[in-house]
Amino acid sequence: MKCQFAAGAASALGAFLYFCCALPSQAAEFDALRQKMVEEVVASSGSTPPDPSVMAAMGKVERHRFVPGWLAPFAYRNHPLPIGYGQTISQPLIVARMTDLLNIKEGDTVLEIGTGSGYQAAVLAEMAKSVYSIEIIEPLGKQAAERLKSLGYENVETRVGDGYYGWPEAAPFDAIIVTAAASHVPPPLLKQLKLGGRMVIPLGASFMTQYLMLVEKQQDGSVTTRQIVPVRFVPLSGGH
């Protein structure tokens, strides 16, 4: 049994904070925080910084609008945050790495499985021609769709439902990102990936992206995968 009152009070407070956050002086503050976040992500990436286009996109997207109101002040920390329904918004560093691995170019069409808050879709929308995003959890999907619309992301199309069969009407895709936990890569998604296209899947528990899998579809249709631990960590001591 959930304590309705507490939840109501929390969301009212959240709404209040969110409102406060939207004030002009706050907006400038968030802009500054966002720039700081971008710098931090670049600094954290060491010798392999994400492409400048990725960081430019992340520098534009107002991440604080993609988290629950009461978490807005923490939106630009290099942390994952809860967004309700047991789902999370990824750590900025992970978003940057994933987006970078997708190698998005201006005219690209991108498919996202697992809209979540819509943040990743927004980042992709800053870089690609069009983004198609499917969310399996209805309330999350609806919230994200409204949010993306209200923020003016015209090139993002969202849908609530099963992501297993991808978005055949819009296929093939230059890039696919599967942020929803899946026991396997749905074969229909691989089919909808263009020759030379890239797919990225983060693996690990909520809040805990352990490694990223990059699937590359070669020109001959064969696939190769790379598994990337996002942190520079050598498992053997003295093995640097």
Partner: protein
């Protein structure tokens, strides 16, 4: 008000509630969070007891004129707090997965700990009050107290067979009210109708309080919660037993398609499945089967299918069969016979009865036999020989990869376990174990190291000749053969990998350039690790590896512990760079729980005494040392034996209930004996204690030597017989362990009575901290060492006793 006789039945009942609640909480927390919070619950219970002792010491004069009333109030408060504390604790948004990101999680953990303490505080106060007030009859009160405790801890297991845990909580609430009603009668309190009111309240709670109010809400980050958020998900069946709460979820809108780590080359889609969750974790899946094998082609695209490409028509043993995925895989590959072993009868029943048509009577297919048994016990007792022993992948990916299992003991993946499996293989048979892939490699290398050790201990001169490991993008499968792999077999393995884009991580004679071809890693970590573990530099490699990959043994069955302090420091420093998720959080949580127990018990048990007048009656150093030592030693023994008996009794909850009950009852008997002896010969107090400590030492050494063999020999016995054997084994040890506390107290009573509250408080402090410390020590040193340490500490106590006063 004169009180004629102690409320013995009410005491017994209240004590039963306290212990039943303690066991029940471990069950409830398994559903809400994850199962290894047991040590924290024991610690919270001890904290409640300890704090109640302090409160009693400080307030007893004030309470004295109204003992009856206070007792009744306390029982009522406990009735209220048992469900209320749990409900409130559920409202605390504690998420262990965020622990390392968000420091406020520690405060939330503390809040849960303190909330859980409250009912135990009330229970302890009620029992302590009666014991103190009826000092002259303390023996009888104590006997009823312990009898109740014993019945409560075991009885709750029986109750959990009849009803789900939230309903059991309602029963306990009603029983605590009943205890209040009985106390009114037993104490001859006025007005008499008060008893009727409490009885009525108890009945009303029992009849009218909807258990659903108290239903444990799994964390939103557990698999079940996440699955139920998906549009179209419907719970179609729920079952409950002490082994776990089972939830079956169907989704016709967005079907389940569980095919862990399926090859990217596969084009097949799994047929419709039902998802089966145990305590909200999983899923195990029940796959639709209509007798046709074509729709099951996806089962050949998993790394676990490898052995079927090496063996022809094998006789298979599946350990951890669950809802039958691995049995289906065996049938798909033409296994000659399949024996499936699953611990939980409820899960078997789902396949055999409730969803028989959906699952195509899987467990009744020709050649398939199913056994409700614990895997290790079954293998030990089975006279059969198998061509293939498959250890199924039962835990959920998220949980395993997040290090959530770090502190849970698992006897499935120890050196001894692997040796046992190997002993049931035909001469050319093999063992196959599939694990989730973690990066940098953890499970896979630890498993590989475990296999190397097991083979070496079996006297195999060249273990490398019998090992093969392959990895997909999400799973790893290890094969351990009973003889050397042949060239044809290796060719078949390579072909299996080639067609599915699975990398061979190790096979005998493998060249470095063959590693790391399909799922590219920065380095061929798995191949390098496997060859290092087979080479002369193994020890160096294990030590230098930043995760703990030393093989797990039955003495230290923490397969999922990968935590090393040095790596933790490095990863913590790299947290902003993505290092945090590689940190196994369960270990820092244990350390946090220890610190929390330490501070809470100082604040709630020791500090109030120091602040009150009692500070004038500070105990001497030997007295303090004595009560500290026996508190630690008792907890060390109890926790170590609970863990040790998990293997024998097949489930942590059984072990907690049986071992706790046996320790309580027989320690009480030890206390009672001490009382009798002491009356007869006061002067010989320390002599019989020395004797008790020596007996404990001898028994402990004996048990350490014989228990593994004995467990193996008796593992086939039915549960009831195993429980009886456990009780008989624990009894003599517990009798001895029951002696030091009353010995010390009686000695103080005659020399420094004022320091008794201090002595008890110090003992309480040691119990609270000891419960957590024992787990920490067991992880590092093993159970044997913890038991020996306990004996040593008891020895120290015996010396301290001689210096009393």
């Amino acid at each position: 008000m004169s009180i004629p006789r102690p409320p013995l039945i009410a005491i017994g009942l209240l004590s039963a509630c306290v212990l039943a609640y303690e066991v029940l909480l471990t069950r409830l927390f398994s559903i809400v969070l994850w199962h290894h919070f047991a040590y924290m619950i024991i610690s919270a219970a001890m904290l409640g007891y300890g704090a109640s002792g302090t409160a009693l010491a400080l307030l007893k004069e004030k309470i004295a004129p109204r003992v009856g009333w206070v007792y009744v109030m306390v029982a009522m408060a406990m009735a209220f707090l048992m469900p209320a504390a749990f409900l409130l604790a559920q409202q605390v948004p504690f998420n262990p997965l965020q622990l390392l990101w968000d420091q406020t999680q520690l405060t939330r953990l503390l809040a849960i700990y303190l909330l859980m303490m409250l009912p135990f505080f009330c229970g302890g106060l009620g029992i302590g009050l009666v014991m103190w007030h009826f000092g002259s009859q303390a023996g009888r009160v104590y006997a009823f107290d312990i009898l109740g405790a014993g019945i409560g801890s075991l009885g709750v297991i029986g109750v959990l067979f009849l009803m789900p845990p939230h309903n059991a909580l309602v029963v306990l609430t009603a029983l605590a009210l009943l205890a209040a009603a009985i106390a009114v009668i037993e104490l001859g309190m006025r007005p008499k109708w008060l008893a009727g009111i409490f009885l009525g309240l108890g009945l009303a709670v029992f009849v009218a309080l909807p258990g659903s109010w108290l239903q444990a809400q799994p964390s939103p980050y557990k698999d079940l919660s996440q699955t139920l958020n998906i549009a179209g998900a419907q719970v179609v069946e729920e079952r409950s037993s002490p082994l776990g709460q089972i939830t079956v979820v169907e989704n016709t809108l967005i079907p389940f398609r569980h095919a862990p780590g399926m090859s990217l080359n596969a084009t097949d889609e799994p047929p419709p499945q039902l998802a089966v969750f145990v305590d909200g974790e999983g899923p195990l899946v029940l796959t639709r089967f209509d007798g046709k094998f074509a729709p099951l082609a996806y089962l050949d695209q998993l790394t676990s299918a490898l052995p079927y490409h090496v063996l022809e028509k094998p006789r298979v043993l599946v350990l951890g069969a669950g809802a039958g995925s691995d049995v289906l895989q065996a049938l798909y590959h033409g296994a000659a016979a399949v024996d499936a072993v699953e611990l939980d009868r409820n899960v078997i029943d789902l396949v055999q009865q409730r969803f028989r048509d959906f699952g195509g009577s899987l467990y009744a297919q020709p050649g398939v036999r199913v056994f409700a048994a614990e895997a290790r016990g079954f293998v030990n007792a089975s006279p059969d020989r198998y061509d293939l022993v498959q250890v199924a992948l039962m835990d959920s990916f998220g949980v395993a990869s997040a290090g959530l299992y770090g502190l849970s003991e698992s006897y499935l993946y120890t050196v001894e376990a692997l040796q046992t499996y190997l002993s049931r293989l035909t001469p050319d048979g093999m063992l196959a174990v599939t694990r989730w892939l973690t990066l940098p490699p953890r499970d896979a290398l630890k498993l590989f190291a475990t296999a190397v050790f097991a083979l070496e201990q079996n006297g195999i001169p060249n273990p490398g000749g019998r090992l093969v490991m392959i990895r997909g993008w999400k799973t790893v499968t290890l094969l351990v053969k009973n003889s050397d792999f042949t060239a044809e077999e290796i060719e078949a393995i390579k072909e299996f990998g080639r067609t599915r884009s699975f990398d061979v991580a190790y096979y005998p004679g493998m060249l470095p350039e063959e590693a790391n071809r399909y799922n590219l890693l920065e380095q061929p970590y798995f191949f390098k690790g496997a060859t290092a573990l087979l080479g002369p530099q193994r020890e160096v490699f294990i030590n230098r590896y930043k995760f703990y990959i030393e093989p797990a043994t039955d003495d230290r069955p923490y397969f999922f512990r990968f935590f090393k302090w040095a790596a933790a420091a490095e990863l913590f420093a790299l947290r902003e760079q993505g290092g945090m998720p590689l940190l196994d959080w369960s270990y820092p949580l244990l350390v946090a729980a220890l610190v929390q127990a330490f501070i809470a018990s100082i604040v709630l048990i020791l500090a109030p005494l120091a602040a009150a007048r009692a500070r004038r009656a500070l105990p001497t150093a030997p007295v303090a040392l004595y009560f500290l030592a026996i508190g630690f030693a008792f907890m060390f023994m109890e926790i170590a034996f609970i863990q040790k008996f998990i293997l024998f009794l097949a489930h942590p909850l059984y072990a907690v209930a049986v071992v706790l009950c046996a320790f309580l009852v027989f320690a009480a008997m030890g206390s009672w004996l001490t009382g009798r002896w002491q009356k007869k010969a006061m002067a010989r107090g320390s002599r019989h204690l020395t004797l008790a400590v020596m007996t404990m030492g001898v028994l402990s050494l004996l048990y350490l030597a014989i228990l593994p063999g004995l467990f193996q020999a008796l593992t086939h016995l039915p549960d009831a017989a195993k429980i009886a054997v456990s009780v008989v084994l624990i009894a003599p040890l517990a009798v001895c362990m029951g002696m030091p506390f009353p010995t010390g107290t009686m000695r103080l009573a005659s020399t420094a009575q004022d320091s008794i509250p201090w002595a008890w408080a110090i003992n309480g402090f040691a119990s609270v901290v000891g419960a957590v410390l024992a787990t920490l020590l067991a992880i590092h040193l093993g159970f044997a060492a913890v038991i020996l340490l306990a004996v040593l500490i008891y020895g120290l106590a015996a010396i301290a006793l001689r210096r009393f006063a």
